[in-house]
């Protein structure tokens, strides 16, 4: 039987009339597609369509096409299913994949429409009037006490403690050093600082070099406890307990030993070359009261910095979130089932969890019905693809959103979904020095700043059209959303009326 039982996904074509044999493609491809024997040759079977070669070919000599090979159509037996069986029949094991769920599940964001003002209510021009996006993350009291002093000046009795101010309701989601390169993390840290927002370490600890960005960092404490020590816990403005991830709810993580070089090893505090295995649960959290203990242990260790708890959005997410709020968390980070990952079994990524839109709606409603919405900020992640998604997520009830995949795409990622191979040609999801060195942190940071600033402009434009000039008047304002093409039960869960009503 030939080695290539599986046909190539893509066909790489080099136009030899145009090729001037500079060999840039050979240098740039992280997957070893190209070779040179008198002329440039390509092994299409290795191509993941990441376009690195296309972008860097000075002659535009390279084209990549989908392999047009015909399969007998079968409505039940999608070609992907057949390929999965061939792979598993050849070498037993789970099918691994990267990035977020790529299955064509209903995307609720794309079925929500935003309102605008006409006649009875003037829209506001963001070019002429202030438009405020500033957001405070953290636990807030239900009310304030204010008195007048002897000179008749209002004085606050007690204040809002330990809230984090961000200039835009968009933060960067947790992507660990190890899953992504240090240069990628550097770019995100620089961007977070310039934007006045936050980045999140993910579960891989914090490299010494990033400590200067402390005011813009959430440090994560996950089940593997990689890189967790007291200096680390105090290195950011908040600590996040990662219970789960949208791309792989209920399971742990595995960073292969090949990626644990000297720097990653030092940061994660594990021996070089050993696999970094994150257990599925935290072995000191088997119940909600255990979570409470860890929340308070972390608060004690950090002088009562805010603690975020990150969960994957699973079926019972509303009740779980309520428990987390009551356990003392200051923020709940909801990671929807479209959330990205460096590596996940495809079965889990594609079939476990619920959409972030539903999770925001039910968690916000649950916390309100219990009168405890003020106790936590809700950060929504896992499927935020555009400024429209930002507006819709906040209108459904989120305080802020987090972006991971969108940030990587801004830095060149083409969603090839091969992060787990460590061969990322864009220098993002890799630790190979010759690949990571090609991602210039300042270049990456500039692109991230551009992206978030662009989205901010768009959010402001939409707020103006809504006749709103402060983001808090959008928060939970489901009255300004309508659904199109959703079933009545989903509308009810979302608390959104269908268009026309």
């Amino acid at each position: 039987m030939p080695d290539r039982f599986l046909p190539s996904e893509f066909i790489v074509n080099v136009d030899h009339q145009r090729c001037r044999r500079c060999k840039r493609c050979i240098l740039n491809c992280g997957f070893g597609v190209f070779d040179f024997q008198n002329m440039t040759t390509a092994d299409s079977s290795k191509c993941v369509a990441c376009h690195r070669c296309v972008v860097f070919c000075p002659e535009e000599a390279i084209t990549i096409t989908r392999n047009p090979l015909a399969f007998r159509e079968h409505a039940s037996w999608d070609v992907g299913l057949r390929k999965a069986i061939w792979k598993q029949a050849q070498s037993p094991g789970m099918i691994l994949t990267g990035m977020g769920n790529d299955k064509p599940w209903l995307n609720i964001f794309d079925h929500l429409l935003i309102d605008a003002c006409q006649v009875t209510n003037p829209s506001i021009d963001p070019l002429r009037e202030p438009m405020e996006l500033r957001t405070y993350l953290g636990r807030k009291p239900a009310r304030l006490e204010i008195e007048y002093d002897s000179q008749g000046k209002p004085v606050l009795r007690g204040a809002v403690e330990n809230n984090i101010m961000i200039n835009v309701p968009i933060i960067f989601s947790g992507m660990s050093y190890g899953s992504i390169s240090l240069n990628a993390q550097r770019a995100i840290a620089i961007a977070a600082e310039r934007l006045g927002t936050l980045m999140n370490t993910g579960e891989g600890g914090l490299h010494e070099e990033l400590y200067p960005y402390a005011n813009h960092i959430i440090v994560q404490c996950a089940s593997g406890r990689f890189g967790v020590h007291s200096k680390y816990l105090n290195a950011g403005v908040a600590v996040e307990i990662k219970i789960g991830q949208g791309a792989k709810p209920g399971i742990g993580g595995h960073l292969p030993g090949e990626k644990i070089g000297r720097e990653v090893s030092g940061t994660r505090m594990i021996p070089q070359g050993t696999d970094a295995l994150s257990p599925a649960p935290h072995h000191d959290i088997y119940s909600i009261e255990d979570l409470r203990q860890l929340i308070y242990a972390l608060k004690e260790a950090t002088g009562y910095k805010p603690v975020s708890v990150k969960i994957a959005t699973v079926h019972n997410v509303a009740a779980i979130a309520s428990g987390i709020a009551r356990a003392g968390a200051d923020m709940i980070y909801l990671d929807g089932f479209r959330g990205g990952t460096g590596a996940s079994p495809a079965i889990v990524r594609d079939h476990v969890g619920i959409p972030i839109e539903i999770a925001i709606a039910v968690v916000d409603e649950q916390l309100r019905s219990e009168g405890i919405r003020n106790m936590v900020s809700i950060i929504a992640a896992g499927g935020i693809r555009s400024s429209a998604d930002v507006v819709k997520a906040i209108a459904l009830g989120a305080d802020a959103v987090a972006i991971g995949t969108a940030a990587l795409v801004a830095m060149g990622c083409r969603l090839c979904q091969k992060c787990y191979t460590g061969n990322c040609s864009w220098g993002i999801a890799t630790q190979r020095p010759e690949l990571t060195s090609r991602l210039d942190p300042d270049w990456g940071a500039e692109r991230l700043v551009n992206l978030v600033n662009s989205w901010s402009l768009e959010v402001k434009e939409v707020l103006g059209a809504l006749g709103i000039n402060a983001i808090e008047s959008l928060r939970g304002n489901r009255d300004r959303l309508r659904s199109l093409g959703l079933d009545p039960a989903t509308n009810e869960v979302l608390g959104v009326r269908p268009a026309g009503m």
Binding site: K140, R143, E145, A470, M501
Partner: protein, 370 residues
């Protein structure tokens, strides 16, 4: 009369009705009493701001003989609704007096509901049972009638004050209710221009809870946020218009949370960050905390409101002044209105006339000891 419950029961023709409006109000800070004719005269010149689909008034100090009793004004669709509602009232309050609200027959005010008023106090055993204040008890009772007793609507529930409203032009509504027979130290009035009409009396202004009455010109673009914020504190928005959230916000912020009036206004029409960032540290911290905690109570979109309560009246504009509001003073009188003409109609030579700045409240309080 339809009821709007949770979103499960939405009726497409009975959802929130945008409307534009004319407002007027005044207070005699010495507590001197003025006939309701005066506020009718002021409203009469602003018919251009209404379309005859809603008008109303609130008078303060009008029931001195029952000053210690909650004056509950209720509209009923039918006698059955009235019986059911009165049964609920008797279970919860001691009725000192109940009577039909006096009214004139009018060609221009048609098809009125049954209009009654009840002077009452909460039953002591009920107060002990629920452990709430009398005011909170009355709020719960009002919410309960308005959401669960079919065909009954409480439209006024304060002490020594009353709301009078109907479908019609303001002056016709005032004459229908014979406001000339009442004398109060403060009056507010409203004429309405709804852009579609459920033709429902409850939809007219003022909106009221306890002694808070709000007349409002504008459309609240943050309605969904404000409504859901208020629901966390037990308020139920049932009146088919966004204006009621203003009344409930004033009640929550000033009565329940005991925020000073100026601070409550700075929550609803918050100063901009750009101005706060350059303010002194203490002031900045105060407003930062206010917005972080009370973001759900920020009222966005165009509005001008006049709020009446037992001790005074407040005029307030939205944070970028998208609707008109004018104020004037003459001796012990403070006037607030959508139009200067409406003030000059009842006070031809004011000492001072000014346009209040965006988000800055105009407050007229009864003097201490009055």
């Amino acid at each position: 009369m339809e009821k709007i419950g949770k979103y499960k029961e939405w009726k497409p023709d009975l959802w929130r009705v945008p409307s534009a409006c004319g407002l007027s109000g005044f207070i005699n800070r010495d507590g001197g009493l003025v006939s309701g004719e005066v506020i009718i005269d002021s409203m009469r010149v602003m018919n251009e701001r209404g379309n005859g689909l809603g008008g109303g008034f609130a008078g303060y100090g009008i029931y001195p003989e029952y000053a210690d009793y909650y004056a509950i004004h209720i509209m009923f669709e039918s006698q059955e609704g009235k019986h059911a509602c009165e049964k609920l009232l008797e279970d919860n309050v001691v009725l000192e007096k109940m009577e039909e609200i006096p009214k004139e027959t009018s060609e221009r005010i048609t098809d009125p509901p049954i209009l009654w008023r009840y002077f009452c106090k909460p039953r002591v055993e009920k107060i002990l049972e629920c452990g709430k204040s009398e005011d909170d008890f009355i709020v719960d009772l009002v919410m309960s009638i308005n959401t669960s007793v079919p065909g009954s609507f409480v439209f006024s529930s304060g002490k020594n004050m009353g709301v009078f409203k109907a479908v019609g032009f303001a002056e016709d509504v005032g004459e229908f209710y014979r406001l000339g027979d009442y004398r109060g130290h403060a009056w507010i009035g409203h004429t309405r221009f709804p852009t579609n009409t459920p033709g429902w009396w409850g939809g007219a202004h003022p909106f009221n809870i306890l002694d808070w009455s709000v007349v409002h010109n504008g459309e609240i673009s943050s309605y969904g946020t404000n409504k859901r914020y208020l629901e966390m504190f037990g308020y139920k928005c049932t009146l088919l218009t966004d204006t009621e959230v203003m009344a409930y916000l004033f009640d929550l912020l000033i009565r329940k949370h005991r925020l000073p009036i100026e601070i409550a206004c700075a929550v609803m029409a918050a100063p901009f960050w750009k101005d706060m960032d350059s303010a002194g540290e203490e002031e900045r911290r105060l407003y930062e905390s206010l917005r972080a905690v009370y973001g759900g109570a920020l009222v966005n979109g165009p509005f001008a409101v006049i709020v009446g309560f037992s001790r005074g009246i407040i005029g307030l504009n939205d944070r970028i002044k998208l609707r008109p509001l004018v104020a004037a003073e003459k001796d012990e009188y403070l006037y607030i209105s959508s139009e200067e003409a409406a003030i000059r109609e009842i006070c031809p030579k004011p000492d001072r006339v000014w346009a209040p700045r965006a988000g800055k409240p105009v407050i007229g309080m009864l003097k201490d000891g009055v």
